[in-house]
């Protein structure tokens, strides 16, 4: 069968576009790491050398940084997984009451932006102003705050909490797909419960569990907001925050090449983890096996532990969503943060909200954000759709390569991608893109391309080839077929991906912070970051409250409309 010539032209266009979007920034990142010039704009091939690597890798700070990163990543992944395994086991294998609340509530925690959650915990646990610290001090007559959230412990605790929902959503189907007769067969073969759990249940879950764990490690490694809010003020750096600190250093003239050199290790670690993740996933798929009518597993009777178990789950939901929201809402009505009391209640005011309407930057940031989010979401949807069209539907020679190229950004931490584009935009200054919202949009689009194209691939594979061919033989030209067949059939995926991108673009602070230049391209996440930095705590609380409400409602709406599958199965959060 001959491919349609006009489509072939398209295929080359898409291929080259993705190639450029992915490889150009990466090459600039690599070249920049060898640049001895101070600024990206001064970069030339003559000024190359190993000096950045030497500087970075002889610096003892780098090794402290590596140690911090290991503790933070391992600690939060361990905490997150243990919590998620407990939750998943409780809802899938025990007779705990109120399971519906868990299934509905846990994914909702995804809606709370990490930056706001970290800030809320600062309001609760900062040694200077933290509400919990202050109450404990008064209650127990301590002269020092008992808990300091600006610590590795604080970062592990919070990122651990944040990893729970994705891990939970990955573990539930894993547990559900396991044939319970495999465990019963162990019991009738003479294995005691502990032995059966160790030799059968755990071994069967192992590949999936390891995959989930690697995935969580990748997420923790990439996250900027939590270590940014909790680690930076205390000088505790991990990779993502250190790179940011080098570039945004207030005291020294930034050495951009060093940031790149550091980003290269960071990238290497991320790529290696991604590789192992992909390998684990293919092993999980090998373990599928025929099953019979599959008795539903006998639910373990928790007896009098049913309600304590439920209380534990509610405690998690309380810590993950309710408490941050309540603290923000509470602080947003106060002139300054104070422990709840009658006096505090009397002093409640709307002036923080009024302040938002008067503070000029808020309006601009809002406009920028809306523009940026709509452009990013639309661009991601369109680009991923056309990429998938080539990958899934064409006989184009480079379709496998294109598929892999589209997946590459999955392994690139947001901060690293930000640096890479930072170099690109500064170097190609003949196109005035640096410092615009477009810059942020392009960065995000590349970053979300891996998720978008995975979702589109899955959806496109379900549309039978003959539906398309039937349109052709009915006389529809390719673009009419696109419009009349693909578009309506894939609408749910389009909308699902679009909203997913909006939800993520609005809350991620790392990449925009690198590409941020001034009020011209200040988006909401940067505004909140900057206001927080300058100590406008009550105003941040007001913005945060509104943003959290919006995101929670949006997430609820998404679930209600029924795009739950796409959003819930999102691999990147």
């Amino acid at each position: 069968m001959r491919a349609m010539p006009r489509l072939l032209f398209w295929q080359y266009g898409i291929f080259l576009l993705v190639l450029g979007l992915v490889l150009v920034p990466l090459s600039f990142l690599i070249l920049g790491s060898f640049s001895t010039a101070r600024l990206p704009t001064d970069f030339s091939l003559e000024t190359m050398g190993w000096v950045n690597y030497l500087k970075v890798y002889t610096d003892p700070d780098t090794y402290a940084l590596l140690g911090n990163t290991v503790i933070y990543v391992a600690g939060s992944a361990l905490l997150g997984i243990s919590l998620a395994v407990t939750l998943a086991w409780l809802v899938e294998r025990t007779n705990m009451p109120g399971k519906v609340w868990i299934y509905a509530g846990v994914p909702m925690t995804l809606a709370v932006p990490g930056m706001l959650q970290a800030m809320a915990w600062v309001l609760l646990l900062s040694p200077r102003i933290g509400l919990i610290n202050k109450s404990l001090q008064n209650l127990l007559n301590l002269d020092r705050a008992p808990i300091n959230v600006y610590s590795l412990g604080g970062m592990v605790f919070l990122e651990g909490l944040r990893l729970v929902p994705t891990a939970f959503l990955m573990l539930v189907p894993l547990m559900r797909s396991m044939d319970p007769t495999l465990e019963e067969a162990a019991a009738v073969s003479g294995a005691r419960p502990l032995s059966a759990a160790r030799k059968i249940t755990l071994r069967l879950l192992a590949p999936g569990l390891v995959a989930v764990m690697i995935y969580q490690v990748m997420t923790a490694l990439e996250v900027f907001e939590i270590p940014g809010i909790l680690g930076l003020p205390a000088g505790i750096y991990v990779f993502s925050t250190k790179i940011y600190a080098i570039i945004r250093s207030a005291t020294f003239m930034p050495v951009y090449g060093q940031a790149n050199a550091l980003a290269m290790v960071y990238l290497l670690i991320a790529v290696v983890t991604t590789y192992f993740y992909a390998r684990m996933i293919s092993r999980v798929e090998k373990y599928t096996i025929i099953t019979g009518k599959g008795y539903r597993p006998r639910l373990l009777d928790l007896g009098r532990w049913r309600y304590p178990a439920l209380a534990l789950v509610f405690l998690y939901l309380f810590l993950a969503i309710l408490l941050p929201f309540l603290v923000f809402a509470y602080a947003s009505f106060l002139s300054y943060l104070q422990t709840p009391s009658l006096a505090a209640m009397k002093g409640m005011t709307l002036k923080n909200y009024r302040f938002l309407t008067q503070y000029g930057e808020v309006g601009d940031a809002l406009k920028n954000t809306i523009l940026m989010v709509i452009m990013t979401a639309t661009a991601t949807v369109l680009l991923s759709f056309f990429v998938s069209l080539v990958v899934v539907r064409s006989k184009f020679w480079g379709r496998k390569l294109l598929d892999q190229l589209a997946f590459v950004p999955h392994a690139i931490p947001g901060i690293v991608l930000g640096i890479a584009f930072f170099w690109v935009f500064l170097k190609i200054d003949f196109i005035p893109i640096y410092g615009t919202v477009w810059a942020i949009s392009i960065g995000f689009t590349v970053s979300f391309l891996s998720y978008g194209s995975r979702a589109m691939n899955a959806s496109l594979l379900q549309i039978h080839k003959e539906l398309e061919e039937a349109a052709y033989v009915s006389g529809a030209r390719p673009w009419r077929t696109l419009l009349r067949v693909f578009l309506p059939l894939m609408m749910p995926t389009f909308v699902g991906v679009w909203i997913w991108v909006v939800l993520h673009a609005v809350r991620i602070a790392g990449l925009p912070l690198i590409l941020y230049e001034g009020p011209r391209n200040q988006v909401l996440s940067i505004l909140i970051w900057n206001m927080w930095d300058q100590g406008y705590v009550p105003a941040v609380a007001a913005i945060g409250t509104l943003l959290m409400l919006t995101l929670l409602l949006l997430t609820l709406a998404v679930r209600y409309i029924g795009f739950r599958r796409q959003v819930v199965q999102s691999p990147t959060v």
Binding site: D179, T181, L182, E184, A185, A186, A187, V188, S189, G190, A191, R192, P193, S195, A196, K199, I200, R203, L204, A206, K286, Y287, T288, I289, I290, T291, G292, K293, G294, R298
Partner: protein, 367 residues
């Protein structure tokens, strides 16, 4: 070898509490192939799982050999791993992370008296040879065909030579041809090993061809128990007659209660008087249902000397089945089906004489 007394099992579903097994009593003798047969939801699998210890009954007693493994009154519930059993699941439950050898070796490695490595090797190899899987020992379990998985599951159940073998619809996941072959292989194997077998199926053909004793269950109760031949030829309840094989039902009332040998009596039906085997102690005037298998009905020549149980019937339809000719007949409003030799000459629309051998007509108490 297995004895169950007054077994009651409830379980909880989304729709509420279900009384799945309602007072089962049965005894399986040493070396017997004992089958629980019934439609889905009749409680047969729940009974089997109670013997295995995978379900905890609410009431009753279960013995395996002389061991009391469950007793509600004495509060005994031996867990499955301490019962001397082997079991094959409907899904086979082959562990995908272990290879063929390790799947079979698993029960040996879990035994209290540890076997030595060469001993395990010897026993596993013997078990695999028994089910003709020798040579596949190193194969990862997911790379087996359905039939091979079924045999692997059997090897795993037999490897520690349990006193009792429990089989939960082990053939239902095989395709038709393989199922037929495996039926005979399986029976031959357990008979050779002289192992007591409790078998659960909803397939009447499996039950009839493989078992020493068939117990028919319905709605949590035992309806009838007996040899396959008894169950087929002398069903005592309408449910059994209906569930096993094709059956004709003729309603009537007892005219002359049983006289003479064989319990033969006479009943009045819409199609005339029929001599049939009556249930014990039934009186004239009571309503009965006469059951006769299609293959027992004969078509006789127009002027035959036979006078007993002869009916005039119209041929409504003739269906060629390959090994038989199935005729649908009507005697007034009564519909009857018969199975004839394929070479019989019967035409649709003609009227024929039927003869119902009295000893093949079994009357059950009517509702």
């Amino acid at each position: 070898m297995i004895s169950i007394r007054n077994l009651h099992v409830h379980y909880q579903t989304d729709q509420g509490r279900v009384h799945a097994v309602r007072g089962i009593d049965l005894a399986v003798q040493q070396g017997q192939f004992y089958t629980l047969l019934g439609p889905s939801g009749c409680g047969k699998t729940t009974t089997l799982r109670s013997v295995a210890g995978l379900e905890t009954p609410d009431e009753g007693e279960i013995f395996i050999g002389d061991d009391l493994v469950f007793s509600s009154s004495r509060r005994i519930a031996v867990p499955p791993y301490n019962r001397d059993i082997g079991m094959v699941f409907q899904s086979y439950a082959i562990w995908p992370h272990l290879n063929v050898f390790e799947n079979v070796a698993f029960p040996l490695r879990e035994m209290k008296a540890r076997s030595s490595q060469p001993e395990i090797h010897k026993k596993v190899t013997a078990a695999l040879t028994l089910v003709q899987l020798d040579g596949l020992a190193d194969r990862p379990a997911p790379f087996l065909s359905g039939g091979q998985q079924q045999r692997l599951a059997l090897a795993r159940a037999l490897v520690k030579e349990p006193r009792v073998l429990l089989l939960d619809e082990p053939l239902s996941n095989l395709d038709a041809k393989l199922r037929e072959e495996t039926r005979f292989e399986l029976r031959e194997l357990v008979k050779r090993l002289k192992i007591t077998t409790l078998y659960v199926t909803h397939d009447q053909l499996e039950a009839l061809t493989m078992s020493d004793i068939v117990t028919v269950m319905d709605q949590g109760r035992i309806v009838q128990s007996g040899t396959p031949m008894e169950i087929y030829q002398a069903p005592q309840e309408r449910f059994v007659a209906n569930f096993i094989g094709l059956t004709n039902f003729i309603e009537g009332r007892v005219d002359i209660a049983a006289t003479g040998e064989n319990g033969l009596g006479e009943a009045n039906t819409a199609s005339g008087k029929i001599r049939c085997v009556l249930p014990d102690g039934i009186h004239s005037g009571e309503s009965v249902i006469i059951v006769i298998r299609p293959e027992d009905i004969n078509i006789i020549a127009e002027h035959s000397s036979e006078k007993e149980n002869v009916l005039r019937a119209k041929v409504e339809a003739v269906i060629f089945m390959g090994d038989a000719l199935e005729c649908q007949l009507s005697v007034g409003n009564q519909r009857l089906r018969t199975k004839l030799h394929p070479s019989s000459v019967v035409r649709q629309g003609e009227t024929v004489s039927l003869q119902l051998p009295p000893l093949s007509c079994r009357a059950l108490r009517g509702a």
